[in-house]
């Protein structure tokens, strides 16, 4: 068992949707022997073949559980497992409790990766896709952030912190704008090339401006407070990882948590929601921020950073970045031109909204 090393696997037309290689299935069975559970059924529910991760749902004598194979480095996984335990045990947050092994451990190491079993929370239902739902999500997110403060990772864990990396990630966006331009130029015969070239300068300018602003903002003062002060961001929060349970909102899939300024999750949720609306709506944005603020108050300087982060052209970046993979396909896809068009239009409605709410937090302590 020691010699096996779990690696990403290839999926193609011949493999079914939730295909997991046999040796990993066997490891899963081995792993379950470490638990005091009698498993009635085991079923794959999610896979990450490109990374080498998977989730199984277990039916056991003590109710439904999830078994997760974490694809990250074991030391990185120790960080998120510690966080999950802290949130449940210390902060009584609504996140799934981890089931201990027979030896009282949080996890099992097999195939060079960490595995763990947690409660399967049932029933869970997504909130409605309207402003009310969005506000519920925001409030729950604020609550999660507030409760995650004070987390001290176990000694062997590597510290996942994005706190200091904002300027670097802004720079990365700028760099990649240059990549998009180079590729569009090199593939000038493709259908979307000229459309991309027409707009890339605008978004590059926006990103440069965001970087300038973050470099002059209170960001550097804020991050001096340190990791434990700010707590954790979820990094993958939205309508599926925040769901309504019997006694309130539950937050699941904590494997990517990292120390950061919490509003990064909020920014993602807002810009993603606006993209779904195809336009920026000042009422939604205000209400979402307000709902969050009620659960985890935002200071004036944190609000400033939120405004800057919202100014970054994340939607353009997020949607175009795959152009590097198969430029010919991507740039000849009829939807790509449409996609660029939509992003540009949505972006145009963003600026009046940001301007309008710019001073909302004036005077807030």
């Amino acid at each position: 068992m020691e010699k096996i090393v779990i690696e990403p696997w290839i999926v193609d037309e011949l493999t079914h949707e939730f295909f997991v290689p046999d040796y990993i299935e066997q490891l899963a069975e081995e792993v379950l022997k470490s638990y005091d559970l009698s498993v009635r059924s085991i079923q794959v529910v999610t896979t990450k073949p490109d990374k080498g991760g998977a989730i199984w749902k277990l039916e056991t004598n003590s109710g439904p559980k999830s078994l997760k194979l974490l694809h990250r480095r074991p030391t990185r996984s120790l960080f998120s497992l510690g966080a999950q335990e802290y949130l449940v045990d210390v902060q009584k947050a609504r996140v799934p409790p981890i089931i201990k092994t027979k030896d009282g451990s949080n996890y099992v190491e097999a195939g060079g990766k960490l595995w763990f079993v947690a409660e399967w929370i049932e029933p869970l239902a997504p909130v409605t896709k309207d402003l009310e739902g969005a506000k519920q999500l925001c409030y729950a997110l604020g609550e999660f952030h507030r409760l995650s403060k004070g987390y001290i990772p176990p000694e062997q864990a590597e510290i996942a912190s994005r706190l200091r990396k904002w300027p670097k990630s802004y720079e990365k966006v700028i760099t990649k704008m240059d990549w998009f331009r180079s590729i569009a130029k090199a593939y000038e015969e493709t259908a979307a090339s000229s459309h991309l070239l027409n707009v890339v300068d605008i978004f590059e300018e926006q990103a440069k401006r965001s970087l300038e602003r973050i470099n002059q903002s209170s960001y550097f003062e804020l991050i001096k407070q340190g990791n434990a002060y700010w707590g954790l961001v979820h990094q993958d929060y939205g309508w599926s990882n925040g769901q309504m349970g019997e006694n309130g909102m539950w937050i699941i899939d904590l494997d990517g948590v990292a120390f950061d300024l919490p509003i990064r999750d909020l920014r993602k949720l807002i810009s993603g929601t606006m993209a779904d609306l195809y336009r920026w709506d000042v009422e939604w944005v205000r209400e979402m921020i307000k709902a969050y603020h009620e659960a985890n108050p935002i200071s004036a300087s944190l609000y400033e950073v939120l405004m800057i982060d919202l100014s970054l052209p994340t939607e353009f970046y997020k949607n175009i970045k795959e152009v590097v993979y198969e430029p010919e396909l991507f740039l000849n896809e009829p939807t790509t031109t449409q996609l660029i068009q939509t992003i540009v239009e949505t972006d145009q409605s963003k600026w009046p909204v940001l301007e309008e709410i710019e001073n909302d937090w004036k005077g807030v302590e």
Partner: protein, 602 residues
């Protein structure tokens, strides 16, 4: 000496999987093992036994890959084995755990990149480490200077030892051993009659091969026979394709010149690609320590175009063995420099020859080894000197307290020395005052500087005074002996006077020398401290730190194991401390000046 060399947790020794540090160690082992009893501690690998002895060198291998696991194995090994000197490669974080289990061994460090940066090692630990090690060798001035900027107190311990290359393995393409290989490779890859530009390195944004690819359309208009060879293992990778690799591939696909991508090339075959090429381009965008490819290129007799980043330009004699691109973000700057070389065939040839000459004369492994041996000897000597000096101080004290018979002379000496002492004290106090005046402006490093100032200056003063006292005593004793021999009639008055004059002259000279040295040393020490605490332009500093941390991340993702939180909290705490302190500073200044005067009167 019995010496333990500790490698990193990444790759095994011998360098079956390559690696710059591993290559370095393998390069120097045959030379250093002639002089010392060497044990190499590294990571285990399925292809290598846990222990073996080859050519008198002992290899011990413990599980690695993950730093924490490796550290445990290393500590356990050092705990149960004795060494005179332990040389650690690029892992300052191993120093304190090793010091704990090897309290007597000298510890030296080799630094190959930025592992002293605050993201990599907690500043508190870093300071302790710098105190424990007797010497630090770095692969470039750049690497050393980054450490100096962060920890000025380390400065005297740092020395650059440029790496080396096997000049028998890396040979020019026209060398008899290589001609056939060169032709075969060129034939097999459609490179006959081409001018081959070579890039070898990781496919990452830091290494920047995209800039070269983007320079090629322009170059290909001017030079009709160009071809590009990219030696980089991840080119064909299916699973680990990063956005960057995808980007580079997409660009390469559209190039108007042939592009040969080799995929993984075994480390022991890489020289063949150098022999097959005509020009090497290093496109590094990040502050690189100093890439090995520079040495390999020189040995292979190729002209090199590199970037003004990190230590890379340190081995370039501009226009002699290569050119330096000052603005490496801009592909057209590469086009310009490459074009400069390609359009002058005789320059191109001369550069290659010069490179080969430099490799043979300066960058061979025996030179690296002998410089490292020097450093080890120095570490040993420093330790020795330290213990000697301690003995001297002890001896003087013992003598002056216990030997009743010489009491008068001691007093005498003290009286004579009073003015010297006063003079030195004045010099010392003045230095301390100047320092403290400057320190008011240098908040951040105040603590550190105060510490050094007090310790360093006091120590130097005391040592010198002790030595002075000792010499004075010696002189007085000699005169007393001389008097005794005169009294006993063994020597005549004339001889006595002559001898006495000689002793006194000697004494005066000695005294002057020691006093001068003391002044010099105290002045020098305070000047050094001043330089260190002179406040840096903060924004620049910050920017640089950010830049460096970026690089770090992409390059050493696996290593980002450091507790950021501690650093930040430490900073906050320090700021608070500093604020509190400024109020009481004046009072303290006075006190500090007094402390020494009082203790010196003892």
């Amino acid at each position: 000496m019995k010496i333990l060399m500790i490698c990193t947790e990444k790759l095994p020794i011998p360098p079956v999987l390559g690696g710059a540090i591993q290559t370095y160690i393998a390069g120097i082992l045959p030379h250093i093992s002639k002089f010392h009893d060497i044990t190499v501690l590294g990571i285990s690998d399925s292809s290598l036994p846990e222990q073996e002895t080859i050519n008198g060198i002992h290899y011990v291998r413990v599980p690695g890959k993950i730093f924490e696991i490796y550290r445990e194995g290393v500590v356990r090994y050092v705990e149960s084995n004795q060494f005179d000197l332990i040389h650690i490669f690029n892992r300052p974080r191993l120093v304190m755990p090793i010091r704990n289990v090897a309290p007597k061994a000298k510890i030296t460090l080799s630094m190959h990149n930025d592992m002293f940066n605050p993201e990599k090692i907690d500043p508190e630990e870093a300071k302790a480490v710098l105190g424990e090690v007797s010497n630090i060798v770095t692969v470039s001035n750049y690497v050393g200077n980054v450490i100096r900027d962060l920890y000025p107190e380390a400065s005297p311990k740092i020395r650059t030892i440029y790496s080396g290359v096997d000049t028998e393995r890396f040979l020019p393409g026209n060398h008899p051993k290589m001609q056939k290989i060169r032709n075969e490779i060129r034939r097999a890859n459609g490179l006959e009659n081409k001018t081959v530009i070579l890039f070898a390195g990781r496919l990452s944004r830091n290494k920047g091969v995209d800039k070269l690819i983007r320079a090629l359309p322009e170059l290909s208009k001017k030079f009709k026979d160009l071809a590009l060879v990219i030696v980089g293992s991840k080119w064909f990778s299916q699973e680990a394709v990063t956005d960057y690799i995808a980007y580079v591939r997409a660009l390469a696909k559209k190039l108007p010149v042939p592009v040969v991508t080799t995929g993984f090339v075994s480390p022991d075959e890489i020289q063949n690609w150098f022999a097959a090429a005509d020009l090497f381009v290093c496109t590094s965008q990040w502050q690189e320590p100093l890439a090995r490819v520079h040495y390999e290129t020189m040995a292979a007799g190729l002209p090199i175009v590199t970037t003004a980043r990190g230590g890379n330009p340190e081995v370039i004699l501009i226009n002699e063995n290569g050119l330096v691109v000052e603005n490496p973000e801009d592909p057209s700057c590469f086009a310009e420099k490459i074009s400069q070389i390609l359009s002058d065939k005789s320059l191109m040839r001369r550069m290659g020859e010069k490179g080969r000459e430099l490799a043979v004369s300066r960058y061979q492994w025996d030179r690296v080894a002998s410089e490292l041996l020097e450093v080890w000897e120095q570490s040993k000597a420093v330790e020795q000197e330290k213990t000697d000096e301690e003995h001297v101080v002890e001896a003087v004290t013992v003598e002056s307290v216990t030997e009743e018979g010489t009491k008068e002379q001691v007093l005498d000496v003290s009286a004579e020395m009073a003015s010297i002492r006063k003079q030195l004290e004045a010099n010392f106090v003045q230095n301390v005052l100047v320092l403290q005046a400057k320190l008011e402006k240098a908040e951040e490093k105040e603590e550190l500087a105060k510490h050094i100032a007090k310790e360093k200056l006091e120590k130097k003063m005391k040592k010198k005074l002790a030595k002075l006292e000792e010499k004075e005593l010696e002189g007085k004793k000699k005169i007393a002996e001389l008097e005794a021999t005169l009294a006993s009639g063994e020597i005549g008055q004339e001889e006595y006077e002559k001898e006495q004059a000689a002793i006194q002259t000697q004494l005066v000279e000695m005294r002057a020398k020691i006093v001068e040295e003391a002044h010099e040393q105290v002045d020098k020490a305070s000047k050094e401290i001043l330089e260190k605490v002179t406040p840096k332009r903060e924004s620049e500093h910050k920017k640089q730190a950010v830049e460096q941390s970026n690089i770090v991340y992409e390059d050493n993702v696996e290593q980002s194991n450091v507790v950021y939180e501690d650093n930040e909290d430490a900073n906050v705490r320090k700021k608070q401390r500093d604020k509190k302190k400024s109020g009481t500073r004046k009072q303290k200044k006075q006190k500090n000046a007094n402390i020494w005067v009082i203790s010196s009167k003892k």
